[in-house]
Symmetry: none
Subunit: 410 residues, 2 copies
């Protein structure tokens, strides 16, 4: 299945914008055996949306548009589709009634222009939106499929998974067998060097991605039927696992936080946090995992030195002797989190996120962290590169990884 | 100048890939007064490159292609351009001689396929490459310009700055005057309805974006010279400000947190947080602002009920009578943050982020929040839509906004 994507919205063409819908859809489509051959990003112009839709739809098995389905003046996907498909746009009275009811049920007053959302090209069908008010549009022409989805990521994703994925699955030949391996504590080039000889196999494709949360290895195996592809993938995964050892922290939808949570659940234990430079990021990352309340107790954000003392119990002497950004303070923060929050394990993080505050001895990016567990302490020191946001994100990930290694090794 | 960009290369369509050339070119073009209206990413297929080139070039003042100019079998931009422009591809003997000399001078042996790099569509000119071997291609048709550049970022950038930028500067009028207005506490369609009549002016362009952190209005004014565009923009901004009132929280690079920080700095005051469902997101958002330590004291993450009591001082009776997700608990969390962290203002947040834990009376998405300030308390209740991540992000933004309104009004 040759696929094409079109993202609609002037904002996507501004400097610094990212088409995150296409990033998500590309991965999802690959896992369903479809390959994105081309993509377009178009501003809110009916003419331009229609031109690219026409150019791409005629030469693709599948075209997905995202965005431009809202109720405002600059939502132009509906009229553009009608233009590209060469049919009139029609208003669906039943859909209009449903839209108005949706607004009443949610205690909102529909605007006059909400009625636009009941327009669709003649010959198309509606795609239900389980999350929001804007319905999507589906159109079939011979063996070719066209779908238009809202640009709001949560709505787009829900509609893809509920309405489009099943239709693709029904059509697909054997999709490639796929696995994502997730690695912490190593750089992209170190992972590449360690594993490179394993990539050079027929019928296997490996992509390495570096993210602030770690390295991702996207593995795909295809050819020779589903069973053969899947056993080739299993062998590749086994070889990579063997080389990566404890640095391989999970696969597919795992995150450092979900792996930490699973380890804590298995042990019937809990964790608490005390953060200075990451200031809540570590707590927020842990609690991204649904059900985190079973194993995450709570935490302290001790941005000022006096709170490091009063809330986390760091001693005046340690602060004076070593400074707030030091291994001893990280250790006392971890112990303080553990005791003040009555948890089995405590994590402490202290560092210099910048842009100012760095010195020669303690540069911007320096972060000390520690984990206090029953009868054992671990600590680590990093100098992270990047801007303030990236240093904080990398510090939170490294602290999760330090906790994970402790729970794993213990 | 309406611009279009095409990036050529199958690798750009893999999950996780980024078209960094387009990101760079978009910023460069805006600063030269050109606006990117559409973009495409195409794999290494002559047919597909030709189709998008033809669709975009006919309707743009300027089209820049990047990639596909190398010497290998899958470098297809040259034949695709000839196909799209409807002219034959011709080999330039003088350029071939220069290419071979370039390789000899750099001590490299040219491959047989290097000769391809001396091919260009009839009627086009060469663009010199000061950094590498692959020349670019320039084509003019009436007032429309087409350029094809190598995909290697260093070569692409050098060639743009040396050969394309001067030609655009010679043509360009004044770049548009731009401003971003940032709005909290209103939906996209409410803002659209309130302001729509102001968009319908000659020479003014308005884009509305909805993000978890609020609504963004991107304003641009152009035409009639820089001074006139800028005074038209100022008038538009003034009218919008008048209608938006306190919902307009900032402009351009402002964030809710940076505005809160500036208000606190102006008053010489500090703030602290006590979070349940947002679990550190509010603290992390406040401390994204460089220098936040001047006005952010710290916070408590009280995920479990017993920590709400022991760390934040919420009373057993309030918890028993109203439940953890209630206005009285939010108020006690705010007061607890204020007193335990010795801050002038305290913010408390408690809610149900889901996916489980909701009831009919207290559904997933219900969030209570409060701000405790000297002599005054404010509280608010929301039912946010979306998944766990979105509910938490929206709750953190709403809490920042509640704090901002309190600081502004006081």
């Amino acid at each position: 299945v040759d696929a094409a994507l079109i993202a609609v919205g002037s904002e996507l063409l501004r400097p610094g914008a990212r088409d995150t819908n296409a990033e998500w859809l590309t991965g999802r489509l690959e896992s369903l055996g479809a390959r994105v051959r081309w993509r377009a990003l178009v501003d809110d112009s009916t003419e331009r949306i229609a031109v690219v839709t026409e150019a791409l739809f005629g030469r693709s098995d599948l075209l997905i548009l995202t965005g431009g389905l809202g109720p405002t003046e600059d939502d132009r996907t509906r009229p553009a589709l009608a233009q590209a498909l060469g049919v009139p746009s029609v208003r669906d009275p039943e859909r209009l009634e449903r839209l108005l009811r949706y607004f009443r049920d949610h205690g909102r007053v529909p605007s006059g222009s909400q009625a636009r959302q009941a327009d669709r090209p003649r010959g198309s069908e509606w795609l239900e939106n389980p999350v929001g008010s804007a319905p999507g549009i589906a159109f079939e022409s011979g063996s070719r499929l066209l779908f238009a989805l809202p640009g709001v990521p949560a709505e787009m994703r829900a509609m893809f998974d509920e309405s489009i994925a099943p239709r693709l699955r029904a059509r697909a030949a054997d999709p490639p067998a796929r696995r994502t391996l997730r690695v912490a504590g190593r750089t992209e080039s170190a992972v590449d060097e360690m594993l490179r000889d394993l990539y050079q196999q027929e019928g296997v494709e490996v992509t390495i991605l570096a993210k602030p949360t770690g390295i991702e290895l996207l593995l795909a195996a295809s050819g020779g039927g589903a069973a053969e592809a899947s056993s080739r993938l299993a062998l590749l995964e086994e070889r990579m696992s063997g080389r990566l050892g404890a640095d391989l922290f999970g696969k597919d939808d795992d995150s450092l936080a979900s792996v930490v949570g699973a380890l804590l659940v298995a042990r019937g234990e809990t964790v608490a946090t005390a953060e200075s430079c990451t200031a809540g990021l570590l707590a927020a990352a842990l609690t991204e995992v649904p059900g985190a309340s079973a194993w995450y107790r709570g935490g302290l954000v001790v941005y000022s030195d006096d709170l490091k003392r009063s809330l986390a119990g760091v001693s005046e002497e340690t602060l004076a002797a070593h400074g707030a950004v030091s291994a001893p303070v990280a250790l006392e923060l971890a112990a303080g989190a553990r005791s003040r929050c009555a948890a089995d394990h405590g994590v402490g993080v202290t560092g210099i996120a910048g842009p100012s505050g760095g010195t020669d001895a303690k540069p911007v990016g320096l972060v000390h962290m520690a984990v206090a567990s029953p009868g054992v302490e671990r600590e680590a020191r990093f100098v992270f590169r990047g801007d303030r946001d990236l240093i904080r994100a990398r510090a939170a990930s490294a602290a999760l990884d330090l906790l994970r290694r402790g729970l794993r090794g213990a």
